[in-house]
């Protein structure tokens, strides 16, 4: 006989699932745009196709899945409850999904009105999410470093959104000038603020929990996020008061933080208690190796004043670091919540004395088969290598890279949809009894 399980504060399955499944859809869309427009689109950084692909990946894949993961993890890890979670997630997800599509189409089809529609939808979605989530975090009694890191990440998302809206107005209206000089600041707050801060906040919890490692050093947990945030603030101030020394120090601090996070994560994984490697660990190792490579290449190029291929650092940061991390975490989060929800439904049946009606809840590793996840990892890794080569020799590697990227994203979408279908099937079996 087994004691019963309860969902605690965990939200309904549809809350995180709608965000997580949407992410590879946008990844696939980005890959198809690469295939459609060909290597000419990366002839310069500001091409509309490049901007569309970048935002399908940063908003569509990264931000979409990060919001879903936050809605799942905050209640479970930090004891916070979102009131009316299904309604809240729907109000956030729908305008976010539509807003990202509009933004991409605005660039691809050069329709100014779509920029305005996109910024209204995205502005609404992000404002609501930031205000409600920050409010919940500030009220939380939890004092884990993850809480303050999440607050800093939300603040970074706020700055990224404000800069993004201003830049989009420059694209979509004639009254606001296009402030291209703010683009680097926008992407710094987005990638080094919002994305890096949130990934490290979540890593402090999920790496020790799922990969069976020691905890991150206390000094890393306590100070890394603040250092990144302060360095980004200092960098921002140099746009108002151009002090070269402040810019240099901020850049060194940021690079040191990236190295510290990557090295401490790799060290923890190397010293893990359980030697059996799983697919999520491979993704973590790949992501952290990319972060190390990114920082080294960036540092060396800055020191010797060398020009890098325009998209090299972007590919390493977005595809190599951020997408790898999130892709890996999806293979833990989705099976875990499916296991949890099915186990709770079984419990409800037991509570009513209907044990014979229970469904068989498989082990977490069986919900998304290890072999399917491993093949998807191989396609992801190969697409990363080819994309990096394509930044140097686009004519040779662009199409193979885009094709492999499309396969990797389609494979991820397939794996996630299959697990959702499995959940719905089991739920249907249970529903006949509940």
């Amino acid at each position: 006989m087994r004691a019963d399980l309860s969902l605690q504060q965990a939200p309904p399955f549809s809350v995180p699932a709608r965000f997580l499944v949407s992410a590879p859809f946008f990844g696939l869309l980005a890959a198809l745009i690469l295939l459609w427009y060909g290597p000419e689109m990366i002839s310069h950084r500001w091409s509309p196709e490049v901007l569309a692909v970048t935002h399908f990946l940063t908003l569509g894949f990264l931000t979409m899945s990060m919001l879903g993961a936050m809605m799942q993890l905050m209640p479970v890890l930090m004891g916070m409850v979102f009131p009316r979670a299904v309604l809240f997630s729907g109000i956030i997800h729908t305008p976010l999904f539509a807003g990202i599509l509009c933004l991409g189409l605005a660039w691809l089809m050069q329709i100014d009105l779509l920029f305005i529609v996109a910024l209204v939808l995205l502005g609404f979605s992000f404002s609501l999410f930031i205000v409600l989530t920050a409010d919940r975090l500030l009220r939380s009694a939890n004092r884990h470093a993850t809480r303050s890191m999440m607050l800093l990440a939300l603040l970074a998302l706020f700055f990224t959104t404000c800069l993004g809206i201003y830049l989009a107005m420059g694209h979509g209206t004639e009254t606001v000038p296009l402030a291209r000089q703010l683009t680097d600041l926008h992407l710094s707050w987005g990638l080094l603020g919002w994305v890096l801060l949130l990934i490290s906040a979540v890593a402090y919890q999920v790496v020790p929990m799922f990969q069976i490692t020691d905890e991150y050093p206390v000094i890393v947990q306590r100070w890394l996020g603040w250092l990144i945030f302060i360095a980004l603030l200092s960098l921002s101030l140099t746009y108002l008061w151009p002090l070269e020394i402040v810019k240099t120090i901020s850049t060194i601090v940021l690079a040191s933080c990236l190295l510290t996070f990557a090295l401490s994560t790799l060290w923890l994984l190397h010293k893990r208690r359980r030697l059996l490697a799983d697919i999520t660990m491979r993704f973590w190792q790949l992501a952290m190796s990319c972060l190390l490579l990114l920082t080294s290449v960036w540092g060396i190029a800055t020191l010797i004043h060398a020009d890098l291929p325009a998209f090299l650092l972007g590919v390493l940061m977005i595809h190599g670091f951020a997408m790898s991390t999130i892709n890996g975490m999806m293979y833990k989060i989705i099976p875990f919540i499916i296991w949890l929800h099915l186990s709770v439904h079984n419990k409800n049946l037991r509570g009513r004395g209907e044990r014979s009606s229970q469904v068989n809840v498989p082990h977490m590793r069986k919900i998304i088969p290890e072999a399917a996840a491993l093949w998807q990892f191989r396609f992801h890794l190969l697409s990363l290598v080819l994309l990096l080569l394509a930044t140097i020799w686009p004519l040779w590697f662009f199409y193979p890279a885009a094709l492999l990227f499309a396969i990797a994203q389609a494979f991820l979408l397939f794996n996630l949809l299959k697990s959702v279908r499995f959940y719905n099937k089991k739920l249907a079996e249970l529903s006949t009894f509940i």
Partner: protein, 94 residues
């Protein structure tokens, strides 16, 4: 019959620590308590123990980061055995 049932879940990935702890708790006989060793705070365990009418006490472990003592509500013999180990009265009025 020994009072203590020892369960070390320190090297297990989620959800095995939760599953195994709930299974072991359910298998406790009168007078027995479960001493569960873990590498971190078990974030979903306590609500489940409350729902299933178990009492518990958590403290930093001697050989692991955390140890949790678990016994059935109203099992005074098991509670007394836990009190003897931890050396203090237990507040179970949650």
């Amino acid at each position: 019959m020994p009072h203590e049932v020892l369960l070390d879940v320190s090297d297990l990935p989620p959800p095995e620590p939760l599953e195994q702890t709930l299974d072991a708790a359910e298998a406790l006989k009168p007078g027995q308590y479960l001493r569960m060793l873990h590498r971190r705070d078990p974030c979903m365990l306590f609500g489940n123990l409350d729902n299933n009418h178990f009492n518990y006490f958590q403290r930093p472990g001697l050989t692991s980061a955390v140890e949790v003592f678990i016994w059935r509500e109203n099992d005074t013999e098991a509670e007394t055995a836990v009190q003897l180990i931890i050396g203090e009265a237990i507040d179970t009025s949650r």
